[in-house]
Symmetry: C2
Subunit: 451 residues, 2 copies
């Protein structure tokens, strides 16, 4: 037989079992947390009609897209979960109840230039709340509570949700008569963290054509820092000069007003006037989330309020608010930084049942009894020497080996061996499941371990 | 703005939220059950190098495949989960522990002619156990226990796991000196249920070139029916004439010997000599699973033992056993047959919190308290009349509305309204979560409701 060397395409994540177990736990946290806030799971196709997916057209995205013909059809792989959501809501408008809350955790595709840490196939984990015509500000206020629970669910404490409002920025630029340049200005200001204030000023003056005084005003504005209360007080100083600004300030106040009721501690939340988000799409509150000890990673959960989800497909006004986690990249970075908890049990099973007798009926019954008690059990059936069996148990990292020989059967017990400590106890099958599950619960640390 | 009419490609399943909730429950049952038997989750890319995916080449599959160029790369979408598994095991051979048990629930792609109930994008839910050189028969014996738990987990009782062994069939054909024709014969016999014994005999004689006496022998053989014990006894009558047959019979006995220890009732299991599975790939035990009240659906979970998983990629001998559930098709058929339990709560949340006061801090705290108690809560923030709020609650099918007005706040309670009965009780927030969760538990029926 002619052989082909197996390989996985570069830019495509493919994990070994123990690491995949951690990824599965992250996904379980996301599903559970999104569910806790009343979001419905959605699952749209990976392939869509290219014409529909590219309705917006143009830009960098189009070059990166996986697009191909099949028969007469012009097809493309989704490059995000927002466009398919827009299609879904426009298509099923009459069958949905609004506000419509959905989450989707799915793979998306972008044929980017291959480089370390860049993925061509990656998971996004999105939530969106879509209103029919209107959507109350309370939904925007709730988003930080969801982000907070997600990251706490991952085991993180040292993160910060940063919030701003595009109406404040646009209103402020209008005060300076710079509305037409607001897009360019925001894209420039967005680079502040990366290139510093001086270079931002230079670009604003040289490339955007601002006066030195306007550039100065802008830098002074985005330099406003302090507690949430202090920043809001400073913003009050600009109030009454522009309607949009005042509206944005009122929204920002509404978003920050109930943080403690939402259970979000002050240290995990900051009003940050430098947050703009690049996309013109956003019209109100915008969110970014950074890991305090790893600012170099950038935002790990971003999003915002938009006024027009599906204008390419319907004349219905569909405002919404949403956030997205680039899950594959986040997982990759956490792993790279050594933040994934190595002590977390990631074996394929909790217990490996090792039959030590010719007749295996008793071992089978034991395995089934443990499963009925909720223990994930692998029954080891290979004809190997005891040493090889224990070496397999070590290799898969199983927390417990459960031995069943003639003696145990005669006594009506099984021998439960803790693979970490080497300690072994004899227990009736009926007690073994509880014993194992309780011990595992005590060992169950967070998914991410901060240092 | 120019508008494009939104649509979803034909042959691609896209469910509304309540139905998706049922699909999610099916997936949760699969993940949990596969996990209970010690299978690791795996997640391989949807896109692979076309040359690797099509190493086996030829046949119907190649015509159906989604294959395309991106830059210089010749790419293809996976058409099953077995070829990617073969690649994975060959590629990561040195990093895996054998037996290697993995499950994968993932989308696969086949550009079949579009027709009702046929999907171009569909989920497969596979498990496989791969041995390094050898794999004990106990693994084959365990498979019916896994299938049994999966279908019982779905809520089904009226199903049957049908088992045969290819060595018995091949040994039997060898007895008749028909080894060279065994492939053709099996493919013909496989049609027995569809076309009947008479037509099978005619094809065996006319097309396969068998004598009438051989055709008669074969039909007599596959007509062996009865309890598992009766069928095995009848097979003993053929023993001692062919080594392969005897080996197959010993394997079949091993697979049936411990069914009760594995917790599989006799009525859910049958030795069935008509089961052959079309693929040459299988070399030992083969499995099919049928719904007893819906034989027209055909097998909903099939698989078997194979000797050579990854011969196209490695010279390592990798025998295995696996089964696959065509999840999208199964879901579609269950829905079509009206078997999905309509009474199962499929709302996006368990409780809809309705603030009835200007200041919403109390409602936010209530929602958070319920979430901390494990209740999936949507906080309704839209400025609507009470009637519209209740109509939204009806539309999303939420089991409980939780009302919080000035009176409730003053009394330190909330009003929990059962949306089905209309009954309303006042409870402190601390008791409301338990009350809701307990009531929901009582309402939680099976996913599939047999009639």
């Amino acid at each position: 037989m002619e052989r082909i060397t197996p390989r996985t395409l570069s830019g495509f994540m493919e994990l070994l079992p123990a690491k995949q177990a951690k990824m599965e736990k992250m996904m379980a946290v996301l599903r559970e947390t999104y569910g806790l806030f009343g979001f419905s799971a959605l699952d749209t196709p990976v392939i869509e009609d290219a014409k529909i997916l590219l309705a917006k057209g143009g830009g960098e995205t189009e070059k990166q897209i996986y697009r191909f013909q099949k028969g007469d059809s012009d097809l493309a792989l989704r490059f995000d979960l927002t466009v398919p959501l827009a299609k879904y809501v426009a298509l099923h408008y009459n069958e949905l109840a609004f506000p419509f809350r959905r989450y989707q955790i799915g793979k998306v595709y972008r044929g980017e230039r291959a480089q370390r840490g860049r993925f061509r196939e990656f998971y996004q984990a999105d939530i969106d709340i879509i209103g029919d015509g209107k959507l109350d500000i309370l939904n925007e206020a709730e988003i930080p509570a969801i982000i907070y629970r997600v990251f706490r669910g991952f085991g993180l404490n040292r993160f910060q949700i940063r919030v701003n409002n595009r109406k404040i920025l646009n209103g402020f630029y209008a005060m300076l008569d710079l509305s037409e340049k607001s897009g360019d200005i925001m894209r420039t200001v967005d680079k502040l963290d990366k290139i510093g204030a001086e270079k931002v000023a230079k670009i604003l003056i040289d490339d955007c054509g601002l006066t030195a005084s306007d550039a100065d005003e802008i830098l002074k504005f985005i330099a406003i820092r302090g507690t949430n209360a202090e920043v809001l007080t400073a913003l009050e100083g600009y109030a009454g000069r522009n309607e949009l600004f005042d509206l944005g300030l009122a929204e920002l106040k509404a978003v920050t007003a109930n943080l403690s009721a939402f259970g979000v501690p002050e240290e995990n939340f900051a009003v940050d006037l430098t947050i703009a988000r690049g996309l013109d799409y956003y019209t109100g509150t915008v969110y970014e989330t950074t890991l305090l000890d790893h600012p170099e990673i950038g935002s790990v959960c971003s999003g915002g309020r938009y006024d027009n989800l599906a204008g390419y497909y319907t004349d219905k006004a569909l405002p919404g608010v949403g956030i997205s986690i680039g899950l594959t990249r986040l997982f990759y970075v956490l792993d790279e930084q050594g933040l994934l908890n190595d002590a977390l049990p990631c074996a394929p099973c909790d217990a490996l049942v090792l039959p030590m007798t010719e007749n295996i009926a008793a071992a089978i019954s034991l395995a089934e009894a443990l499963r009925n008690g909720g223990v994930r059990v692998q029954l080891y059936g290979e004809q190997k020497k005891f040493k090889q069996k224990m070496s397999y148990a070590d290799k898969i990292g199983v927390p417990y080996a459960v031995l069943l020989g003639e003696d145990e059967i005669a006594e009506g017990v099984c021998s439960v061996k803790d693979m970490t400590t080497g300690q072994q106890v004899k227990l009736p099958a009926s007690e073994a499941a509880d014993y194992i599950l309780k011990s595992l619960q005590n060992n169950c640390g967070p998914l991410i371990l901060e240092k």
